[in-house]
C-alpha cells in the first residue's frame, strides 16, 4: 500500500512537471505567425508514415540508420512495457499482463530484451562515433558544451535504463518459484546471462534488487521523459507533427507574400487601392521569432542537432560562417529565452534583443546559395532555408541592408530589367551576332 501511494506520488509529480513544460512549449510555438495548414491531408499523412514513422530519409546513410532504427524501435516497443509498469505501480500487482497473455508474454519479454540489448549496442556505437571517432559534424562551432553534454546524457541514460530492465528481469527469473509474488514467465534469453551474477543472493536480497531495478527504471523513464522536453531529444515526439506540417511544394518554390502582391497590384493600377482584405500589420520578413510562421518554430524544437544539413551545406563546407543547424538551434534558443522571460513576467520579445543580430548574423544568411542541400538532408523535413529567406526579406525590405553588390543588382533590375548593367535595348543583339 505504501509502495502504491509512493508510486502515485512520483507519477503525479512527473505528470505535473511534464504537463507544465509541454504547455510552455505550445505557448512558445504559438508566438509564431499564423499559418493555416489544412491542404493535402493525404500527402501529409504519407510524409508522417514514410519519413517519421518509416524513417525513410535516415536511410540515406545506412549504418547510422540501422543503429538509429534499433533505438527507435526500442523506444516504440519497450514503452509498451512502461504501460505494465504503471498498472503494476498503481494496482500493486506484479507483471499484470503475464496471466492475460499466457505463452505470448515470454515471447514479448524476449523481444523487449533483444531490443534493450540492441539499444545498448547502438548507444555505445553512437557514443564512440561522437566522442572517440569525433565525427566532424558533432564537433563544429555551434556544438558547444551544452549540445555535446545533452547528446552524451541521452545516450548514457538510455544505456543505464536498459541495464535496469535486464537486471530486473534477471532477479525476477531467480525469484520465480521462490516467492509467491513472482509468477512464472518462462525463460528469458538475454537476462539469463546476468543470473549467475545474482545467483548467490537470498530471496530477500533478490527482491531488493528486483524492486530497486523496477523503481530505478520507472523513475528513470519518467525523469527522462521530463528531460526530453528540455532537450534536443524532443524530436522523438515532434518529428511526427513536423513531417505532417512540412511544406509540400517543390523545393525550388519560395513562398509568396500576398501582402506584397496586393501592394504591387495597387501600385501598378491593376487593383484599386484598399481592395481585398487589409494588409496584415507587422514587418516584412523576419527579424525575430514572432515574425516566423509557427511551423518554423515547431521545426526548431524538432531538430535533434544531427548536423546532416550542415555537413551537406556548400557554404559551410567551404568555411563560411553559415551552418543550417545553427540557424535551427538559434531559433530554438531565442524561443526559450523569450518564453522563459514571458513566463516570469519579463519583457519577452521586447527585451531589446532579436533573432537577427543577437543570434544570427547577416554574414551567415548572406552566405546561403539556396541550393536546398540542407532541406534535402534533413531526416524530419525541417527547412532552415525558409528561415534564412525570411531573415533576408527583413534585411532587404525593412533595413535596405543587403550587401552593396545586391543593392546594385536590385538597381540594375529596376532600371535595365536585368541583374547586370546592360542596356535593355541590347537584349536581342545576340540574334544578330554571327556564329
Amino acid at each position: 500500500m505504501i509502495a502504491q501511494l509512493a508510486f502515485l506520488f512520483v507519477l503525479g509529480i512527473a505528470v505535473f512537471l511534464i504537463r507544465r513544460r509541454v504547455l510552455f512549449l505550445a505557448r512558445t510555438i504559438r508566438l509564431g505567425k499564423a499559418n493555416d495548414i489544412k491542404d493535402r491531408t493525404g500527402d501529409r499523412w504519407r510524409n508522417v508514415l514514410l519519413v517519421a514513422f518509416g524513417q525513410k530519409k535516415m536511410f540515406k546513410r545506412p549504418i547510422p540508420a540501422v543503429l538509429h532504427f534499433f533505438i527507435y524501435a526500442g523506444f516504440l516497443i519497450i514503452n509498451l512495457e512502461v504501460l505494465e509498469f504503471i498498472i503494476d505501480g498503481v494496482a500493486g500487482t506484479h507483471r499484470f499482463f503475464a496471466p492475460w497473455l499466457g505463452s505470448i508474454y515470454p515471447v514479448l519479454m524476449n523481444l523487449f530484451e533483444f531490443l534493450a540489448v540492441a539499444v545498448m549496442v547502438a548507444c555505445v556505437v553512437f557514443l564512440l562515433r561522437r566522442f572517440v571517432l569525433r565525427l566532424p559534424r558533432f564537433w563544429s562551432d555551434e556544438m558547444t558544451s551544452w549540445p555535446r553534454l545533452d547528446a552524451a546524457l541521452i545516450l548514457v541514460t538510455e544505456i543505464i535504463l536498459m541495464w535496469a530492465i535486464l537486471f530486473m528481469n534477471a532477479s525476477d527469473q531467480l525469484l520465480q518459484g521462490q516467492h509467491e509474488h513472482y509468477p512464472e514467465t518462462g525463460k528469458l534469453f538475454f537476462s539469463a546471462f546476468l543470473t549467475p551474477a545474482l545467483a548467490g543472493l537470498d530471496v530477500h536480497s533478490l527482491v531488493l534488487v528486483e524492486r530497486f531495478c523496477w523503481w530505478f527504471h520507472i523513475i528513470g523513464i519518467l525523469g527522462f521523459s521530463l528531460y526530453i522536453t528540455y532537450s534536443k531529444h524532443l524530436h522523438i515526439f515532434l518529428a511526427f507533427p513536423n513531417t505532417y506540417y512540412a511544406r509540400l511544394e517543390t523545393k525550388g518554390q519560395i513562398q509568396n507574400m500576398p501582402v506584397v502582391t496586393r501592394e504591387v497590384r495597387s501600385m501598378l493600377g491593376l487593383e484599386p487601392a484598399g481592395a481585398g482584405p487589409p494588409s496584415e500589420p507587422g514587418r516584412f520578413g523576419a527579424k525575430d521569432i514572432n515574425d516566423l510562421s509557427w511551423n518554423s518554430l515547431l521545426s526548431a524544437y524538432s531538430c535533434t542537432e544531427c548536423g546532416r544539413c550542415t555537413s551537406e551545406c556548400p557554404a559551410n563546407q567551404t568555411g563560411k560562417k553559415l551552418s543550417p543547424r545553427k540557424i535551427m538551434m538559434d531559433v530554438r534558443d531565442r524561443m526559450e529565452e523569450v518564453g522563459n522571460s514571458m513566463a516570469h513576467g519579463g519583457a519577452g520579445l521586447a527585451d531589446g534583443k532579436s533573432l537577427l543580430g543577437n543570434y544570427i548574423t547577416k554574414e551567415e544568411i548572406n552566405a546561403c546559395t539556396s541550393c536546398n542541400a540542407c532541406v534535402e538532408a534533413c531526416p524530419v523535413l525541417i527547412s532552415p532555408l525558409d528561415i534564412i529567406l525570411e531573415l533576408r526579406r527583413y534585411v532587404a525590405m525593412e533595413e535596405s541592408g543587403s550587401p552593396a553588390q545586391w543593392n546594385a543588382m536590385f538597381q540594375n533590375i529596376e532600371t535595365n530589367f536585368a541583374p547586370w548593367k546592360f542596356p535593355a535595348a541590347d537584349r536581342f543583339n545576340w540574334a544578330k551576332e554571327n556564329r
Binding site: 518554390q253 504591387v264 557554404a315 548572406n366 525590405m397 536590385f410
Partner: protein, 261 residues
C-alpha cells in the same frame, strides 16, 4: 543561324508559336552563354518547331531579387512579365536557365501567370525520344568521358535529374558521375543570388571545390544545364589551370555539335 522570330512579329502576322523560348538575361547578355542560346536556336530551327522569342520585350524574371530578399522588386518584375506573357496568350515556354524555369513554373502561378514551362534539358530529351533529333553514329562525343554537374534549381529544387543525363547518354558519351551527384550534388556556389556578389569570407570558393570534384572524374568535358553553373564551373576549372584540357559545355551545345549544327 537563321533569323530568330519574335513573338511581336509572329503575332503581327496573325500566327502563334508552338512554344516560346525564354532566353533569360545570361542567355541574352553573357558572351559565353549567348553561344548556348544560339546552339539551342539552331536545334529548334533544325527540327522545324514553330517558336518565338520575346526579344527586347523580355526582362529579368525577378528570381535573384526574390532570393536576395527583395520581394517587392521581384513581384514588380514578375507582374510586368506576366502582363506581357498573358498579353500574348503564351501557353508553353522553354528556357535554358533553371532559375528562370523555376520562377516561371513554380512562382508565377501565385501571381496570375500560369504556363506550361519546360527546361531545355527535358525539351531536348523529348526531341530525341520523338525522333525529331536523330543521333548520328560516331558523333564527336562518342566514348568521350563527360561528367554532368547537377544544377540545384533543376535537381533538388525540381527533381529533374535524369533528363540531362539521358541527353548525354544519347551522344554515346561515357557518362561518369562525381561523388556528390543527383540529390546530394554540390552547388556551384552561384544560387540564391550569390552570382551577383562576392562570396562571404571562408576557406575556399565553392566553385573551386566543385571543379576539383569534376576534375577528379577524369572527364574531358563538364556538362552543365545552367548559365550560372557554366560561369562558376568554367572559373573553377580556370582556377585549377585546367582550361586547356577540360571544357565546360551546355547540353544544347553538345547536342548541336554532335549534329554538326
Amino acid at each position: 543561324m537563321n533569323p530568330v522570330p519574335t513573338l511581336a512579329e509572329m503575332t503581327a502576322r496573325g500566327e502563334s508559336p508552338e512554344i516560346v523560348f525564354w532566353v533569360g538575361c545570361a542567355g541574352s547578355y553573357d558572351d559565353r552563354y549567348k553561344r548556348v542560346t544560339k546552339a539551342f536556336v539552331k536545334i529548334l530551327q533544325a527540327t522545324g518547331i514553330r517558336f518565338a522569342v520575346l526579344g527586347t520585350e523580355e526582362t529579368c524574371t525577378g528570381d535573384p531579387a526574390r532570393r536576395a530578399g527583395n520581394e517587392f522588386l521581384f513581384q514588380m518584375q514578375a507582374t510586368a512579365v506576366i502582363q506581357v506573357l498573358n498579353g500574348y496568350q503564351v501557353k508553353k515556354i522553354v528556357t535554358a536557365c533553371p532559375h528562370c524555369f523555376n520562377t516561371l513554373r513554380n512562382e508565377y502561378p501565385d501571381l496570375g501567370g500560369k504556363y506550361e514551362v519546360i527546361h531545355h534539358s527535358e525539351f531536348l530529351q523529348q526531341l530525341i525520344n520523338e525522333g525529331k533529333i536523330k543521333i548520328k553514329e560516331g558523333g564527336a562525343y562518342q566514348g568521350k568521358k563527360i561528367t554532368y554537374h547537377d544544377s540545384c534549381y533543376l535537381g533538388r529544387a525540381n527533381d529533374i535529374y535524369e533528363a540531362p543525363r539521358a541527353v548525354l547518354e544519347s551522344l554515346d558519351a561515357d557518362l561518369v558521375e562525381m561523388k556528390r551527384c543527383r540529390s546530394t550534388g554540390l552547388c556551384c556556389g552561384a544560387g540564391g543570388a550569390q552570382m551577383f556578389k562576392e562570396p562571404e569570407h571562408g576557406k575556399k570558393d565553392i566553385n573551386v571545390e566543385r571543379a576539383e570534384e569534376a576534375l577528379a572524374t577524369g572527364a574531358q568535358t563538364v556538362a552543365v544545364a545552367c548559365p550560372f553553373c557554366m560561369t562558376m564551373m568554367s572559373d573553377g576549372i580556370k582556377a585549377k589551370n585546367k582550361e586547356a584540357t577540360v571544357n565546360v559545355k551546355d547540353l544544347a551545345e553538345l547536342l548541336a555539335e554532335s549534329q554538326g549544327l
